[in-house]
């Protein structure tokens, strides 16, 4: 069989395909300035501020990675707490075996990718909603297995050793920088992964899986790559949680409430954009702090808002900004008409 020549489309000089927008090119500068200020913050701000920001960064890491999973790969997982737990317990175990907790953090995060490989073989057999509940069941299994180990504190949890030696101020600053490093890696990692071939494949799959398979997109591979990356993100967040709270409690780290937070953050901010979860985390975080005194009511309110947004305002709050053409971290391509 001979190869049929592919007709080249007539060149159209007035149309350009580009990724970046003027806003996105300029957003890199303030992003670096913000990063520099955030890095310098422990020298000027009190510990109250930095520990608040640590919680914020943990939530942001979870939101951004979950959004990559659900918003781009279409994998709605309600079991990411599996990796939060493994990350936290990973730090605990390594610290018990003589590692510095801050050195243990990246090791625990990467370990999450290792155990995510066999887990992905199992849960990828389930589709859509059954995938969601399957991931939840896996998280339950890991939680039930973890609490059987009494050296890890059993059902009540235990303190992370190796953090007592630090001066509280220094420990606060180190924790803050570690959190900043995790969140910046998560943001940069998601951005780069989604701009790569994997991101392109995922966008194709999200839009039409059958068509994407037909043109040769290796769908399972792309999805697995994102699943492993999201496991590392959740693992990093869990490891941070262990260090910032100085102890690990199974009900907390393996709690399904983390999935609720991730989903609410992403739904409020806008699913399927990189900017959405950032905005969503800010809104959720402010709501959480303001409504904290109302106990369970804050989750009722935030949950209702998220449900309403999922049904009637699918693109979330960032969707409003996008209507005005604002795009800070573009991962797609845009066709612009240059003739005008």
């Amino acid at each position: 069989m001979t190869q049929t020549p592919v007709a080249t489309p007539p060149a159209s000089p007035h149309v350009r395909v580009r990724r970046s927008t003027r806003a996105s090119r300029w957003s890199l500068v303030p992003a670096l300035v913000v990063l520099a200020i955030l890095g310098y913050l422990p020298y000027i701000a009190g510990q109250g501020t930095t520990s608040l920001l640590v919680d914020f960064f943990i939530l942001l890491t979870l939101g951004v990675t979950w959004n990559m999973l659900a918003g781009y790969a279409g994998l709605v997982s309600v079991g990411q707490q599996a990796y939060i737990g493994v990350g936290a317990y990973g730090v605990l175990w390594l610290a018990q075996h003589g590692f510095e907790p801050f050195v243990a953090l990246p090791i625990a995060a990467v370990f999450c990718a290792v155990i995510a490989v066999p887990i992905s073989w199992l849960v990828f057999r389930l589709r859509g909603g059954y995938f969601a509940i399957g991931t939840w069941a896996v998280a339950e299994v890991l939680s039930l297995l973890t609490i059987r180990d009494s050296s890890l504190g059993g059902g009540t949890g235990t303190n992370v050793p190796g953090l007592n030696g630090f001066d509280p101020t220094v420990l606060g600053a180190y924790t803050y920088w570690a959190a900043l490093a995790v969140v910046v890696s998560a943001l940069a990692g998601c951005y780069l992964l989604l701009r790569s071939r994997v991101g392109l494949a995922l966008t194709a799959v999200r839009d039409d899986e059958v068509a994407a398979r037909n043109v040769g997109v290796r769908v399972p591979r792309a999805k697995r790559a994102v699943y492993l990356a999201a496991a590392v993100g959740a693992g990093g967040a869990g490891a941070l949680l262990a260090i910032s709270q100085l102890n690990v409690e199974p009900q907390n780290v393996y709690g399904v409430q983390w999935s609720a937070y991730m989903i609410f953050v992403v739904l409020i901010g806008g699913i399927g954009t990189l900017e959405g979860p950032i905005l969503g985390t800010i809104v959720f975080f402010v709501l959480q702090r303001t409504l904290a005194s109302y106990g369970g009511w804050y989750l009722i309110i935030v949950g209702t808002v998220a449900v309403v947004m999922a049904v009637w305002m699918r693109k979330g709050m960032w969707g409003l900004a996008e209507r005005f053409g604002l795009r800070l971290f573009p991962v797609g391509y845009r066709v612009t008409d240059e003739s005008r």
């Binding site: 659900a70 709605v76 389930l126 909603g129 339950e140 299994v141 039930l144 999935s259 609410f264 949950g303």
Partner: protein, 289 residues
Amino acid sequence: MNWANAIVQGLLLGGLFALFACGLSLLFGVIGVINLAHGDLAILGAYVAIAILPSTHTNALWALLFVPPIFAAFGYVSQRTLLQRSLDNGPLTTLLVTFGLSVVLQNALLEGFSADSHSLSIGKLATDAFRVNSTIAISYLRLGILVVAITVLAGVQLFLARTSTGRQIRAVADDGEAAAISGVNTRHITGIAAGIAFLTVALAGMAFGTYAQFAPTSGSNLLLFAFEAVIIGGLGSLWGTLAGGCVLGLAQTIGAQIDPSIGTLSGHLVFLAVLAVRPSGLLPAKAFG
């Protein structure tokens, strides 16, 4: 407890799981909604029973007259409003919406009824049992729940197979657009299917409430058990669901017989093993009916 007793109790427990799984399976099979609020809805059913009954000593069986019809209406209305709307946005949205509802329901129940556990009282029936031999005792309540589960599954099966509405439900499950072209009012029909699913959820929740203590957070585990029964049994097959429920029940009671602290865990592990070895389930079926 001995082994024979563990097996008998496991099969009886399977009836409860199958009852839970019936609604989940139906809602997904016909409407394509994976209801992540399934377990919380069941618990809501038990709490509604508590709220309706005049005192905590009233026999909870009276609530059977009210709660299932309320839930059937609730199911129809939520399908026609929220669920259908979220379905129009794609299957992912229904997941997010039902998960959001689950969190809202759980916290609303916590605010309304506190975190204390409750149970539904059904008088002497809860403790009466007949002894098969010196080691095996079958509780009338547990046997009753298994009978209810089989009746519900058979009833739903018969309804889908024999009635005109049942045929329309199967048609919609098969191909919604084609059914609509042939004159089926798909929105009304999916509403009825959701009503039936919610009715079984209420039954399951009340059965669970008479069986064990429940708290607002009990729903999550129930969702997992229902889901595992569906997957073990095979998607889309109601009798498979009963078999799946029994396998899960057996796994839990036999696990608990080996070590009382691993009952739930061994149920989960059997589920993962089935998923690894036979992902289509034990008795898979192509469609309902």
